[in-house]
């Protein structure tokens, strides 16, 4: 290290002890160094002593200025200088309004939409079902009935429009299953149903005095109800009962399993099953179950527990008259057959015998046909068919109602759009400046540096 460069620091006492010792050792050996140090010391003292120390002025003015510039609370500063801070507050307020007002308006309109939807009766499908039910049920339906039916939706295709079933909680006479006396077959008029002394919903319970006490001939005991009050001599109507249900469930696959289980538990089976799971939309499934007719109503009650019943319909076709008629004709034909058999026994001539045999064959064919028909009707009446359509709930669509904007909304929207445009423009400018920074930053820095050099000179 150059010893000469440290001489000034030595004079000023700014050297480390080690370096100071080195310098002193060198000075002891070199007269020229001692002379240099002495000259530096003299010059340093001269400068310190000779430089003029100007008399300070302006302390009072400075203290006064300090008092004026004393930091005050924000509120006091705003009051003292509103123009300085007013624009900042205005900008903040504008930003707050720009953010909050659209949100509030959106929330308000959403609330209105929800109220409007609640006030209405639901989707168009619901209304169509309600209209259908009104048309089917007729003017005799009470408003409560129509309201109940409107709660359903998504009616199944090929929905039977003959009659709609009423809920289990409703008491009294049911119009749904009531068959007008004028339309009822003569053989079935006056039949009633009572299971274990309890009325079954949806089926009219008639006065027992109107019920004929004689059972039709040829009727099977299996078609008589088990109730002790009506079992004797009273033939149950032979009804081919069917039903259709549209049920909204949380999960279609689980509900399918439940329906299968229910069918087995009731002594029936699932005859048909169709499942659709589209890529977009909700999965749905249709099952056709067959259950014994005696278990028809308990099955319906169990089905209602699967989920939200959107629509339901039951249909009953009374084939009692048809069966009775068939059996009567069968009885007549059997009597005719017996007559032919007796004639055959007493016939003596061959042509007579051939003629009787032909007649006997024809009668027997007719008897077999009638027996087959009767058997078919009995089988149909023995098992009821219930169609179940399972579906999952679909998300509600928000209905945005056009709202006529007020002058304030229009002005606000215009101002918001202009502010948004300004923001976009500023963002574009900022992005351009950022991207082009390698070009303009060196130029600006160079110009600033040149200007600074010029000022310093």
């Amino acid at each position: 290290m150059n010893l000469m460069e440290d001489l000034k620091a030595y004079v000023d006492g700014e050297l480390s002890p080690a370096r100071r010792a080195e310098v002193e050792a060198a000075m002891d050996q070199d007269e020229r160094l001692r002379q240099e140090v002495e000259e530096l010391r003299i010059l340093s003292r001269l400068i310190g002593d000779c430089v003029v120390e100007p008399e300070p002025v302006g302390l009072d003015a400075t203290l006064s200025a300090l008092e004026k510039a004393k930091p005050r609370p924000l509120f006091a500063r705003v009051v003292r200088n509103p123009l300085r801070y007013g624009w900042a507050f205005a900008l903040c307020g504008f930003l707050v309004l720009a953010i909050c007002f659209p949100l509030m308006r959106e929330a308000r309109s959403s609330a209105k939409d929800v109220v409007a939807m609640d006030a209405g009766t639901g989707s168009s499908v619901d209304r169509s079902v309600a209209a259908k039910s009104s048309a089917v049920a007729g003017a005799g339906k009470s408003p409560e009935d129509n309201a109940r039916l409107r709660n359903g939706s998504a009616a199944a295709p090929n929905w039977p429009e003959k009659m709609y079933h009423r809920g289990p909680s409703e008491a009294g006479e049911s119009d749904d299953m009531k068959v007008p006396a004028s339309e009822a077959p003569s053989g079935s008029a006056g039949f009633g149903i009572q299971v274990d002394g309890q009325g079954v919903d949806g089926i009219q319970i008639r006065d027992k005095a109107d019920v004929p006490r004689t059972a039709p001939d040829g009727g099977s005991d299996s078609y008589f109800l088990s109730s002790p009050n009506i079992a004797k001599g009273l033939r149950a109507p032979m009804l081919i009962r069917s039903g259709d249900f549209s049920i909204q469930v949380q999960k279609v696959s689980e509900a399918q399993v439940q329906v299968n289980s229910l069918a087995k538990r009731m002594g029936g089976y699932v005859e048909q099953s169709q499942t659709s799971a589209p890529l977009e939309g909700q999965a749905s499934s249709y099952l056709a179950m067959r259950v014994p007719v005696q278990r028809f109503d308990p099955t319906i009650i169990e089905l209602r527990k699967l989920g939200k019943v959107l629509a339901e319909a039951t249909n009953g076709q009374d084939v009692t008259a048809q069966v009775v008629d068939t059996e009567a004709r069968l009885k007549a034909k059997k009597a005719e057959e017996q007559g032919y058999v007796d004639m055959m026994k007493s016939a003596r001539k061959v042509p007579d015998m051939l003629e009787i045999r032909d007649r006997l064959g024809t009668v027997r064919e007719e008897i077999e046909s009638m027996e087959a028909e009767r058997k078919s009707l009995r089988e149909q009446a023995a098992y009821s068919t219930i169609g179940v359509t399972l579906s999952q709930p679909t998300p509600k669509k928000t209905v945005v109602k056009p709202v006529k904007p007020s002058w304030f909304d229009t002005a606000w929207q215009g101002a918001s759009e202009r502010a948004s445009g300004l923001g976009r423009w500023l963002a574009e400018v900022g992005m351009n400046l950022l991207v082009l920074a390698p070009v303009w930053v060196p130029i600006v820095v160079g110009l600033w540096w040149l200007g600074r050099r010029a000022r310093l000179r």
């Binding site: 620091a9 003299i42 003029v52 400075t62 200025a65 510039a69």
Partner: protein, 164 residues
């Protein structure tokens, strides 16, 4: 650290120091403004003063920046360094150095060299304090001071044949 410090009291204690510091850099005419701005700035940033350096150094640092700003905005040139008149019975060294020569030698120094000479020799600041005010390492101050004195002696020798 800044708790309990009253800017009014600080101003009363250090105003003379700051005023003289400013006067040597921007001239007497602008010194009052520079000193006032120094204390107003100090009042504004007093909460940030952590006591890492002495209050005097901190104030002179602010004053240094204010002087530079004032020179830039008002386009001021660095004032000449004025020396006191020699009095009767002056010391020997004052007799052998022509004051006019010394004044010219000081004014011929570059701004950087003159700055360190004023800070150390006139204001009496150490190398570290001068380095903090100027924002340069202490080694730079030492080097600048060495070269400043070389130039001073050279100028004086040229003017009057040397101190010797």
């Amino acid at each position: 650290m800044s708790r309990g410090l009253d800017i009014g009291e600080i101003a009363r204690q250090h105003y003379a120091l700051v005023y003289r510091f400013c006067a040597r850099r921007v001239g007497v005419d602008a010194a009052q403004d520079a000193a006032q701005e120094t204390f107003i700035t100090a009042q504004r940033v007093l909460k940030k003063f952590r006591g890492d350096s002495s209050l005097r150094t901190w104030l002179l640092g602010i004053a240094h920046n204010e002087c530079r700003r004032l020179c830039r905005t008002r386009k001021l040139d660095a004032p000449c360094v004025d020396l006191k008149e020699a009095s009767d019975g002056a010391p020997f060294e004052q007799m052998i150095v022509d004051r006019q020569a010394l004044s010219e030698a000081l004014n011929k120094l570059s701004p950087e060299h003159r700055e360190v000479v004023l800070l150390h020799e006139v204001e009496g600041l150490s190398y570290d304090e001068a380095a903090e005010i100027l924002g340069v390492p202490a080694g730079t101050v030492k080097s600048r001071l060495h070269h400043a004195f070389l130039n001073l002696r050279k100028s004086l020798q040229e003017y009057s044949g040397g101190v010797r």
